[in-house]
Amino acid sequence: MNNSRGGNILISFQDVSFQYKESDPYVLKNINLEIEQGEWVSIVGHNGSGKSTAAKLMNGLAIATEGEVVVDERAVSEETIYEIRRKLGMVFQNPENQFVGTTVADDVAFGMENLGVERSEMEVRLKQSLEAVRMKGYEDQEPHRLSGGQKQRIAIAGILAMQPEVIVFDEATTMLDPRGKKDLLDTIQELRKERNLTIVTITHDLNEASYSDRVIVLNQGEVHFEGTPRKLLEQHEMLPLIGLEAPFVTELHQQIKKHGLTITHEPLHYKELVDELWKLHLKK
């Protein structure tokens, strides 16, 4: 399936609405979305806006009440979830919800076993993925007896080892230290280049979102905005109205305008802002 831009659509939401119980209100309302193969999309939105619910609909943990979620040309349903989970890996908001093994090594291997990965290949991937999250040496530990950030790292390693086509990270880096976060963003970039991996990151950090190709903003169960990170920051005035806040760079740009200085576009990083201002200044 291709979209108008010619890209191969991997995930689509077609008029999707969802309620947890019949008596509950709808938490997602008439969602239409398309995510292309190889794309990195971030989803942001206030607490309770429906981000995790949307993620659950992608891997069949929840099934659309109305409309259809399609992953790699298959509608997500009870019958297709096992196939879909081979392609789409998800790192949950709370890593403890996904631990199954009694040791870190078992836990990371579990997903691969389900996929029928060969023993020797499993060993290789186990090593690689623990290295990627800097948790080598913890193979024999119990996942539940790790620090908060270590748990998140193991949950991520388990999904990396499965080598899915799409990875959905649901606030998977909230407990990582600054370097750990940066390492993970770098790893994601590398994997995308190597394997044309598709990435969906759910985050509250607009700086993190600005690494992605496209941002989807949910507000009260509806798509409020869809576009490039730069376009989102151009519309920064709406952010406080929907529980979000403009990042530092946008605030700095706003403040610098008060001094009669500006650059031609909304910057994504303070370096961009300072460099452009400096260049304009030299030309004068």
């Binding site: 947890y20 939105g45 206030h46 607490n47 309770g48 981000k51 995790s52 908001q93 709370n94 403890e96 024999d140 530990q141 119990e142 007896r145 790790l146 620090s147 908060g148 950030g149 270590q150 790292r153 606030e171 909230t174 407990m175 990582l176 230290d177 600054p178 370097r179 750990g180 509250h204 607009l206 700086n207 952010l239 406080p240 529980g243 979000l244 806040e245 530092f248 605030e251 700095l252 706003q254 403040q255 610098i256 008060k258 001094h259 009669g260 200085l261 303070y270 370096k271 300072v274 460099d275 201002l277 400096w278 200044h281 004068k284």
Partner: protein, 288 residues
């Protein structure tokens, strides 16, 4: 409540093959009424340290004095008294939610510690507003909430206890930016109003520098340094070596200094101030 640690060791699963010493000879002092931020990379021992503050974990060696309570390897039969005064927001909110409904969960602490419940219930609407939790969620199971809603529930329960010592382990992880600001302002406001002692574990350097009057750096189960936020600014290489970082604002000021060949006197978190400095440099440059 003041806190004094003397040579505290903590070992997980002692005398087993998994024995792990997570705190190693930790000594420090936190004055009453102060706001201390604890930073350190993943696994450095932050959560292990703060769980000693309410006796959830007890020193394997050494002593920890929390107000008038002394904790050591020996059992202390005043733990309940201690916990009445020490409020703790855990790193994962799921670890402190267990009741059938959100309301019961929020009221659990006060009830368990024998507070006058009619008075506590009167404070409920205000607390819900303070933490940004909708009243319509009160009868819901806490396990049917979104991540950020769980976090707010956990915080509301602890705040109702009006603790003398408030211990926060990554309390804003999972909150949306507006909620994050709202609860940090709430903690800061109560800290000042009630002469409460506050300890904040965080990876968010901006919050550490903005709210704390002292910052403690943990590294490999030891106190690496403890100092005023301003003093840490001059130790940024050191922090970076430890896998830590400085607030983005400080990096930005550094960058301006390097690109424009200037030096600023003092670090600031304010975009307004940084914009003023930058504009001065650019405009001032015209006349040179």
């Amino acid at each position: 409540m003041e806190i004094t640690f003397k040579e505290v060791d903590y070992t997980y699963q002692p005398n087993t093959p998994f024995e792990h010493k997570a705190l190693k000879g930790v000594s420090f002092h936190i004055p009453k009424g102060s706001f201390t931020a604890i930073i350190g990379h993943t696994g450095s021992g932050k959560s292990t340290l703060i769980q000693q503050f309410n006796g959830l974990l007890r020193p394997t060696k050494g002593t920890a004095k929390i107000g008038e309570f002394t904790l050591s390897n020996e059992k202390n039969n005043q733990i309940k008294e201690l916990r009445k005064k020490v409020g703790m927001v855990f790193q994962y909110p799921e670890h402190q939610l267990f009741e059938e409904t959100v309301k019961k969960d929020i009221l659990f602490g006060p009830k368990n510690f024998g507070f006058k419940m009619d008075e506590v219930e009167k404070k409920l609407p205000k607390i819900l507003e303070d933490v940004g939790l909708d009243e319509s969620l009160l009868e819901r199971s806490p396990f049917e909430l979104s991540g950020g809603q769980m976090r707010r529930t956990a915080i509301a329960g602890v705040m109702l206890m009006e603790p003398e010592l408030l211990v926060l382990d990554e309390p804003t992880a999972g909150l949306d930016p507006y909620g994050k600001r709202q609860v940090m302002e709430l903690f800061s406001h109560l800290h000042q109003k009630r002469d409460q002692t506050t300890v904040l574990v965080t990876h968010d350097m901006e919050d550490a520098f903005k709210y704390a009057d002292q910052i403690m750096v943990l590294e490999d189960g030891k106190v690496n340094l403890i100092d005023h936020p301003k003093a840490l600014y001059t130790k940024k290489e050191h922090l970076q070596k430890l896998g830590l970082d400085l607030p983005e604002q400080f990096h930005c000021m550094d960058y301006i200094e390097r690109q424009l060949g200037v030096t600023f006197d003092e670090p600031t978190l304010s975009a307004e101030t940084i914009a003023g400095l930058l504009s001065n440099q650019l405009k001032g440059g015209d006349t040179q």
